[in-house]
């Protein structure tokens, strides 16, 4: 690639692997991306899906076991499902959105059964559809989107969005990371389904999730929402990647000498674990699971036991050291702001789905980890696909013929003398977002300090040039992580209370006057503003 910048007039001078025109481009091939692609193609659109990794294995769902917020249409059950986490989420979730997500998830998960997903049966012989094993689920989704004619480009990270003269998003360009050749996809509508950002923390399946979609969307002018609720940490054995927190409900957490740590637990006691880890190691043993439960655990989550079996540890009878790995916005709830029930972002032609989009609408400020995020990926993916298809069909041929230009600068500036090592930027960013006493336990002072250093990092990376092809991908990831951290901490500084997952030590109580969303954005200058809950509701009503 001679220059990372691309203009429709000069494409002939670039070594292009794929130069495609399509109705809908989906960026990201996890659950949300594949549902979006299936939905758009089923609505009659021509669809291209690009994945940084391999559609079927990449993303946090593929490698893991996934709970799904699947609730049959029974009034009482639905009411309980909606009520169960409203308080935990700081009353920021929206019941209209919850209803829509519960309906769509129920319909689509039943489709999975029709397509042949091997759901188990429960004790009464009824099918049980609240849990999906990632490898099987994502292999099936890849098969289904190929069946409806979706073109898949694997190993093809997107680097920049294309926009038309009016600023509407009209495609993307990127590289094939194995051949080194550039690809260009011109599209009527674009769906960002790139997942969240876990800052390369080595949490299971999360290292492909570096906030790339947020950065591209922001460069096209999109806004974020709920970025202060981006401090999810998952419990894992200290040596391992497997962050599966559910089973630690049966754990006793101890100090090194074997005495239990008062108040430590997997759900509400996670702060105690974090607090202890600041000064000394923490151990766990799953000694509260009886033999029946042990057998059930093995059947429910085989990959939870994989690291133990291979390391020669019996977690039910032997203590093992644990750590908390940052899952950031992957199991937090922040992401690209959704403006209406079509899952549109605040820029024309751009849609967001899954963890890339805010999940505040159904989770408020408390983790969407497990079931809610899975349901959101399914339903928001489905809506984004359908809406983008309609939008693209409305544009007709103009959608792929209009003059376009690539937007995005950080790491892509050609001719700059300034070179920095992406690895160093990544480590410096991790030093601001990993520590529990910065990101989990927040204060005005530490947030301000972190933000100053992150602003400096942004200034450095936004004016730098990547040396070569491989570096460009890593530079863009580094820039995305810095940008994500800045929206997170700018929003956290603005929410002067403790609500949902956001723990502000200077303001330890919930404040009724702050029951609003915090919308953020901007690159060189980051901004945050409040958005009342009611506005979102009206928009939903108006378009549904």
């Amino acid at each position: 690639m001679s220059s990372p910048h691309w203009r429709s007039q000069s494409s002939s001078t670039i070594d292009v692997d794929h130069n495609l025109q399509t109705d809908v481009l989906v960026i990201g091939g996890g659950p949300a991306g594949t549902w979006a692609a299936w939905s758009a193609a089923s609505a009659g659109a021509k669809v291209v899906l690009v994945d940084k990794g391999y559609c079927g294995t990449s993303g946090c769902a593929a490698a893991s076991g996934n709970g799904v917020w699947y609730v049959p249409p029974d009034a009482e059950a639905r009411e309980a499902a909606k009520a169960s986490r409203e308080a935990l989420g700081g009353f920021l979730a929206n019941r209209t959105w919850m209803d829509q997500v519960l309906d769509q998830t129920y319909t689509n998960v039943n489709l999975l059964a029709e397509w042949g997903y091997p759901f188990p049966v429960d004790g009464e012989g009824k099918p049980y559809r609240r849990s999906l094993q990632g490898p099987e689920y994502m292999r099936l989704m890849r098969k289904q989107i190929k069946r409806v004619g979706v073109t898949i480009l694997d190993n093809s990270p997107a680097l920049q969005l294309l926009v038309d003269a009016k600023g509407a998003v009209a495609g993307a360009t990127g590289v094939n990371r194995q051949t080194g050749k550039q690809w260009v996809v011109r599209a009527g509508g674009v769906i960002i389904a790139t997942g969240g950002c876990a800052f390369l923390s080595k949490a299971l399946g999360c290292n492909v999730l570096t906030g790339d979609g947020y950065l591209m969307a922001a460069e096209a002018g999109a806004e974020m929402s709920g970025m202060e609720f981006s401090n999810a940490y998952g419990i894992s054995p200290a040596f391992s990647s497997v962050t599966k927190t559910l089973f630690y409900n049966w754990a006793t957490f101890t100090y090194e000498d074997g005495t239990p740590i008062p108040g430590a637990g997997s759900q509400r006691g996670r702060s105690v674990i974090a607090q202890t880890l600041l000064t000394q190691p923490v151990y766990a043993i799953l000694d509260k699971a009886n033999e029946d439960m042990q057998a059930n655990m093995r059947k429910a989550q085989p990959n939870f036991f994989l690291p133990f079996d291979r390391a020669g540890i019996d977690p039910f009878n032997q203590r093992f050291p644990v750590t908390l790995r940052l899952e950031g916005t992957v199991r937090g709830t922040g992401g690209i702001r959704i403006v209406d029930s079509t899952c549109a972002a605040s820029v024309p032609g751009l849609y967001a789905a899954g963890d890339a989009a805010t999940r505040e609408l159904i989770c408020g400020g408390f983790t969407g980890g497990g079931s809610h995020n899975a349901a959101w990926a399914i339903s928001s993916g489905y809506w984004a696909g359908k809406s983008a298809a309609e939008y693209a069909q409305g544009l007709g041929e103009w959608g792929t013929q209009r003059p376009v230009e690539a937007v995005g600068e950080a790491g892509l500036i050609s001719g700059s003398q300034h070179q920095i090592k992406a690895e160093e930027v990544i480590q410096a960013t991790q030093a601001e977002v990993f520590p529990y006493d910065r990101n989990l336990f927040r204060t005005e002072q530490t947030l301000t300090g972190s933000l100053q250093r992150l602003d400096n990092l942004w200034q450095e990376i936004r004016s730098s040039q990547a040396g070569n092809q491989q570096n460009i991908i890593q530079m863009r990831e580094a820039a995305a992580m810095v940008a994500t951290a800045r929206w997170m901490y700018s929003s956290a500084l603005e929410r002067k209370e403790t609500r949902g997952m956001h723990k502000h030590l200077d303001f330890p109580e919930i404040d009724v006057n702050q029951q609003h969303y915090l919308v953020s954005g901007g690159l060189d200058r980051v901004w945050v503003r409040r958005e009342e809950l009611g506005i979102e509701k009206e928009l939903v009503g108006a378009s549904s």
């Binding site: 294995t57 609240r130 490898p135 099987e136 439960m293 085989p302 994989l306």
Partner: protein, 109 residues
């Protein structure tokens, strides 16, 4: 982290090169793929699942080991153990059918 591409088992299908979510492997003509970027491995075990001949070994540790002993791994039947455990591959029955999450959640209520 990925620690082993067994030269004796590998059939050079290069499926691992294609499916690795973080692009850890490099294709080599007339030879097994190499582990070219081990530090990018996220220990997700997906390459092991997709390897049709159980030639790969992902150690559970997220940091690289000094070495692994292929003979010991074979004796301990660890090559391909994840695929066997979840019933992944031709002529196997997926363990998803036995998913007992409902039993677990019942106990939590």
């Amino acid at each position: 982290m990925i620690e082993l591409v067994s030269a004796s088992r590998c059939i050079q299908c290069n499926i691992c090169v294609n499916v690795c979510p973080t692009n850890v492997f490099d294709r080599v003509s007339d030879a097994p793929p190499t582990i070219a970027r081990q530090s990018d491995c996220q220990t997700c075990f997906m390459c092991e699942l997709y390897c049709p001949v159980d030639a790969l070994y992902v150690a559970p540790q997220v940091d690289p080991l000094d070495s692994v002993d292929e003979t010991l791994l074979k004796e301990a039947e660890l090559l391909g153990s994840y695929r066997r455990n979840i019933g992944w591959g031709r002529d196997r029955i997926s363990s998803a059918q036995e998913d007992s999450t409902h039993q677990i959640l019942k106990q939590m209520k």
